[in-house]
Symmetry: C2
Amino acid sequence: MSSRRIVATGTFDILHPGHLFYLEESKKLGDELFVIVARDVNVKHKPHPIIPEDQRLQMVAALKPVDHAMLGDEKDMFLPIEKIRPDIITIGFNQMFDEGRLAQQLAERNLPAKIVRIGKFADGDLCSSRLVVQRIITKRGQDHNNVSETEQRS
Amino acid sequence: MSSRRIVATGTFDILHPGHLFYLEESKKLGDELFVIVARDVNVKHKPHPIIPEDQRLQMVAALKPVDHAMLGDEKDMFLPIEKIRPDIITIGFNQMFDEGRLAQQLAERNLPAKIVRIGKFADGDLCSSRLVVQRIITKRGQDHNNVSETEQRS
């Protein structure tokens, strides 16, 4: 019996428990979790990532639920899907995919993956990169020059 | 033969490959890696963490090299060390411990752990929480109000 392959996708700019929940729930649906990390040039529907793509890839690959992580294709988002041939593609609760259109595109390419939308994580304090960014600007924006000499690694 | 226990410590505010390198190198020294995550109230030598302690703990626990993660003791940093009784305690290249004094304090408590300082990670682009914070302030500080309505999760 072949293993059941799951694909999850995302930018994963500043990792938080919402990402982790999405990946853990995705992994539960099968045996091998492949994560496709968005290329910098392809993030157009929201602000450009803070963290460069190689670093975002490295951190996603280090998370326990993740079996394989790779960068997306800059031109054709379906190319890695064609290589992986997943049984399931998961979508995060706030990812802006039209599931009907995605299903149609997969069918046109003869990719029979089922699409599963993962529910919303019961939010903790800072479960969005946007909120982390806002907190940083609020807490540190005024005095980051003073701060930079004393902070080493936090 | 009992397993060789390693303790690593840190704040782990915004996770980056420098943290990962420190934890991976620590894990290589033994069998079980215990990570003690600094309590919010105990981070005094650098700016207060952006991410609350429970969330920092959750994200550290999700990293592949980490076998056990726990919050530190608010009053006595040696209490968790006494419970774990590690063979080795690792220190990050930029953690401000006086290794001689630390060895003396461990000896006074009858804790025979060896202290190992982990070398510096060959820096990638953003291997410090400080640099991530600075980039966020530079890139987003001016227009984060415009941004907040479009960005969902990155």
